[in-house]
Amino acid sequence: MNALEVHDLTVAYGDIRAVKGISFTVKQGEIFTLIGANGAGKTSTLRALSGMLKYGGKVVYQRAEIDGIAADKRVGLGLAHVPEGRGIFGNLTVMENLKLGAWLRKDKAGVAEDLERGLTAFPRLRERKDQAAGTLSGGEQQMLAVARALMSRPKTLLLDEPSMGLAPKLVQDIYRVVREINAQGVTIVLVEQNANLALKIAHSAAVLETGSISLAGTGAELLSDPRVQAAYLGA
């Protein structure tokens, strides 16, 4: 079964067309990655999927068309988006950020449980739970952004460049976490400039070039594709 089906998706900013009619499907439970250079339309695609941006085309999520559904309602359907630049609220504490992630949930006990689980998974966040989130390091903020998105118990997680601006060691940590989340059954749509990293963990992948998909396949296929190697892997 497909978690997401994207048909002829277009995104435009005024006269500038950032995404020019792309189609792809993401299978339930897999890690799907969109790689591409800066400005290829990766972030615009994710923003369309989460409803942050108006778009053309059709998005089918869990077999239902969701095009008319606003961003905040999509979260309720199990679609969570960790945005570019992490989007943490620096003026709120770590704990408050996490609690806001559970906004739509009514099951207090379940929320408390997930909060505890999140703080256990990210011990750094527990140490800093009463600190303003703006005082966290970049890596900690990324952890917080992911932990916060998980508070909504998503079925599908959209991740926008989780490695951006992080030291290699932290990038490894983040990718380990992404894999763990996926292993628990969450479908992942990962957008990355760091093609090498993303393709290594992806079940399937597509290359986005100036708003169009130029290549698609499994992660392994793209990793060994000479065109990808030449353009994105520095080989």
Binding site: G51, M52, A70, K73, V75, G90, L92, E96
Partner: protein, 291 residues
């Protein structure tokens, strides 16, 4: 000394009213980074709503207060829905001009209904107490008490409830808020409702203290409270309260010790000096620097 203490009570009364109004400016700025210049007129509507309700229904003070807050609150939320929301993504100056226009419309609607200033009947029997050389009236205690209770309530709401967390989140980064499933528009509506409700409460209290009300009463008081909000740090809730009390104190003390015509000169000179040294206001923060 007694004279000073007496003036201090007056200053707290005056400051409480400015603080209540300033909160509305600051809350709206926090969520929309715009100045709701119709806010002074919502303050005026609060006074008229009180007069209207009180002249038809002899209800207890607290019930009238709640009705006045609801009436002005809904008017504020309506203003946001009809006039400001369509301009959410327009240049801020358009929204601000719209707010000025809305204020004028409200003012002139009230003026057309009530062309002359109207006396405001007292809502309860005011008695004075003398403690030593000090005199305090139940009205002053009521104004100060109600204001402080409302401000403590607001502080609790903003710091301890999920609505308050969402409101603070919007002031930091509104576009991320829907990604957590939070209904942005509803939080903004409620923010207007509360801010306008507090302004309406201030109008009602002000009408009790200075019992002649007119359609134009919101202009000067509204501007002053706006200045108080800026001096405290626009967008900061505690800053608005601080700014309100500073302005009230400076005004009352100037009149107490200098010729009364110096009031606005001294008050605004001092406030301008504060802004030279603290351009974001006393408790305000520089806008988020996005990397």
């Amino acid at each position: 000394m007694d004279y000073f203490a007496q003036q201090a009570i007056n200053a707290i009364q005056q400051g409480s009213i400015y603080a209540l109004i300033a909160l509305g400016y600051s809350m709206v700025y926090g969520v929309l980074t715009m100045i709701n210049f119709a806010h002074g007129d919502l303050f005026m509507v609060g006074a008229f709503a009180c007069l209207l309700i009180a002249s038809f229904f002899p209800l207890p003070f607290i019930v009238i207060l709640i009705l006045v807050m609801l009436a002005t609150g809904f008017l504020g939320a309506l203003l946001e829905r009809l006039a400001y929301r369509p301009l959410r993504n327009a240049p801020r100056v358009s929204a601000i001009i719209t707010a000025l226009g809305c204020g004028l419309v409200i003012e002139n609607v009230v003026l057309s209904l009530s062309p002359y200033a109207k006396p405001m009947p007292p809502l309860f029997t005011v008695t004075g107490y003398h403690i030593g050389g000090l005199s305090v009236s139940t009205l002053q205690l009521m104004i100060i008490g109600v204001s402080i209770a409302l401000m403590l309530g607001l502080d609790f709401l903003i710091r301890r409830t999920s609505f308050g967390m969402a409101m603070r989140a919007i002031s930091f980064d509104a576009k991320t808020v829907p990604l957590l499933g939070i209904p942005l528009n509803r939080i903004i509506s409620v923010t207007f409702l509360i801010g306008a409700g507090l302004g309406g409460a201030a109008g009602m209290l002000y009408g009790q203290a200075y019992p002649v009300i007119a359609a134009s009463m919101g202009i000067l008081v509204g501007w002053k409270a706006f200045v108080a909000a800026v001096v405290g740090g626009i967008g900061s809730i505690r800053g608005a309260v601080l700014g309100g009390y500073i302005l009230g104190t400076v005004e009352v003390m100037t009149v107490a010790f200098l010729p009364s015509t110096y009031r606005d000169l001294v008050a605004y000179s001092l406030l301008l000096v504060i802004l030279i040294f603290k351009p974001y206001g006393l408790l305000g923060k520089a806008p988020n620097q996005k990397v």
